[in-house]
């Protein structure tokens, strides 16, 4: 038995004991591992959500014609197909080529701009989908759309469906973990369970050295007392719950206290990066100030995947502060900074997963809610653009080294192999073994 198996089995055994007393009344454990409905290629998903809007024509979708037409307007017919947020009239705005050079990456030669030089080196593992599109051009609804298939909050997000359908391999850690740089443009509905029981919602970990606060028992409280107090609270909650049938939030709270207790044992080890080698830390960019934070999250994601956590979503960018969306007025500054923060860690994550043999069973997804206009907003900006943009996937049964679909010559509309949020999400669900 490997160390990992021991951890997993010992963990599950322990969890089962703790759960037995408390969840009986709730029903059987909602997060017990379940067999995939159809053969699965991936066991876990790491979804790197670059929220705020990454420009596709400056990263993964090279457009030489756009560069050649810099300073000229779009044809009126094409310009009339798009709505914009800040560009007053798309028929009057001018095209702007990318200020970054594209170069071929890996043996496959898929071109990537100089914003992502390290990810570019991993292109043999990556399938870029250049023909994504959506129909909403503001952040929060577009983020809900990508996560849940609806632009309105209230439907279950991808991570919730995955843990609802598959349960978790590790009962001592949350099945669905969310990490962000701070406040997001969409808020928690992006990782909500919607109409599914609340136990399937995402659990938020913080950045930095303390991803989960208050993991230790309070001063003077032993593990036995903690267990007995929780059993006592559980008993009271069950009586309370019995008088209020059908409220899944109450049941979710009972389950989350149980998880909190079990996490106190399993999580300190999972989140302790100090045992990682200097080489690994360097691979994720933990030594450099710019990349340390996102690198920390990516390395933590790998440690969670190793422990059987099913779905991890990491949001890059905030609502206030470092933001891809600062591209409205400062394309160069915002994208240099945000790509600078994420390129090394993402490439490190892919390389590390591959070296550990985990990339085959871990699907890594990179994307955001939309791209940015090939049209210039003001002097140095690009506006929101859902009509054609790029998402990529690696590992988990995805064949790397390819670029699929295409936008038109200027990067305005997805034209070949058009895929909307539902297509992408159906693919992700299918790869982890869930049918529609």
């Amino acid at each position: 038995m490997t160390r990992r198996e021991t951890l997993l089995r010992a963990g599950r055994g322990f969890g089962a004991v703790a759960l037995a007393g408390l969840l009986d009344a709730v029903e059987s454990n909602p997060l017990a591992p379940k067999r995939p409905a159809v053969p699965a290629k991936a066991k876990s998903i790491i979804y790197l959500f670059m929220h705020g809007g990454v420009s596709h024509v400056d990263t993964f979708d090279p457009k030489p014609e756009l560069t050649r037409h810099t300073g000229q307007p779009l044809s009126v017919e094409l310009a009339r197909t798009i709505k914009t947020s800040f560009i007053h009239d798309p028929t009057k705005a001018i095209l702007r080529g990318s200020p970054w050079q594209f170069r071929p990456g890996g043996k496959c030669g898929t071109p990537v701009s100089d914003l992502f030089p390290n990810v570019r080196d991993r292109m043999d593992d990556i399938a870029v989908i250049r023909s994504c599109f959506g129909d909403v051009f503001d952040h929060a609804p577009a983020i809900y759309l990508r996560n849940s298939g609806s632009q309105f909050p209230g439907r279950p997000c991808l991570g919730s469906w995955v843990v609802y359908g598959l349960g978790s391999e590790n009962q001592n850690l949350p099945a669905f973990v969310v990490m962000s740089d701070g406040s997001t443009k969409s808020g928690p509905p992006a990782y909500s369970a919607g109409f599914l029981p609340a136990v399937y919602q995402g659990t938020v970990f913080r950045g930095g050295d303390d991803p989960i606060l208050y993991l230790r028992n309070p001063e003077g409280v032993s593990s036995e007392t903690q267990r007995e107090t929780l059993d006592f609270v559980g008993k009271l909650d069950q009586m309370h719950d019995a008088a209020r049938p059908g409220d899944s939030t109450l049941e979710a709270r009972i389950a989350s206290y149980e998880l909190a207790f079990r996490m106190q044992i399993a999580a300190p080890d999972a989140v302790d990066l100090s045992k990682e080698s200097p080489a690994t830390r360097k691979l994720y960019g933990l030594e450099a100030k710019l990349t340390a934070d996102f690198g920390h999250k990516c390395l933590l994601a790998r440690r969670l995947v190793e422990r059987g956590v099913r779905f991890i979503q990491i949001y890059s960018g905030t609502n206030v502060g470092d933001d891809w969306d600062s591209a409205h007025t400062d394309l160069v500054g915002s994208h240099e900074r945000m790509a600078g923060k994420t390129d090394r860690p993402i490439a490190g994550l892919l390389e590390d997963l591959k070296a550990l043999g985990l990339l085959e069973s871990t699907l890594v997804v990179w994307g955001g809610e939309f791209g940015r206009t090939p049209l210039s907003q003001g002097q140095n900006g690009r506006d929101h653009h859902p009509y054609g943009f790029a998402v990529w996937m690696a590992g988990g049964g995805v064949r790397g080294g390819q670029a699929l679909g295409a936008t038109d010559e200027f990067g305005v509309q997805a034209v070949d192999k058009r895929v909307d949020a539902h297509d992408i999400n159906a693919t992700l669900l299918r790869l982890v073994g869930l049918d529609q």
């Binding site: 309070p218 007392t225 107090t229 909650d237 909190a260 106190q264």
Partner: protein, 79 residues
């Protein structure tokens, strides 16, 4: 969840409430603004005895009871 359960703030609040009560019924009234039902009173008294033995004092046991009650769905949720 872990902050409600384990933070110093909650522990301190539990101790403050516990310092004002000497019985299970008083704890229920202070925290939940009602009397305990018989189904609650019996296990609560057993809990106090067990924790008093574990923690070495009645007051520590009541603080632990209070920490528990402050974490119940009934206390945390508006009905």
């Amino acid at each position: 969840m872990s902050s409600l359960l384990n933070s110093r703030f909650m522990l301190e609040q539990a101790r403050v409430v516990a310092s004002k009560v000497t019985s299970v019924d008083e704890a229920w009234r202070r925290i939940l603004a009602r009397d305990p039902t018989p189904e609650e009173r019996t296990p609560a008294n057993e809990f106090i005895e067990k924790q008093a033995a574990r923690l070495g004092s009645k007051s520590a046991a009541f603080a632990e009871l209070a920490r528990g009650l402050l974490n119940t769905n009934e206390f945390l949720y508006v009905d």
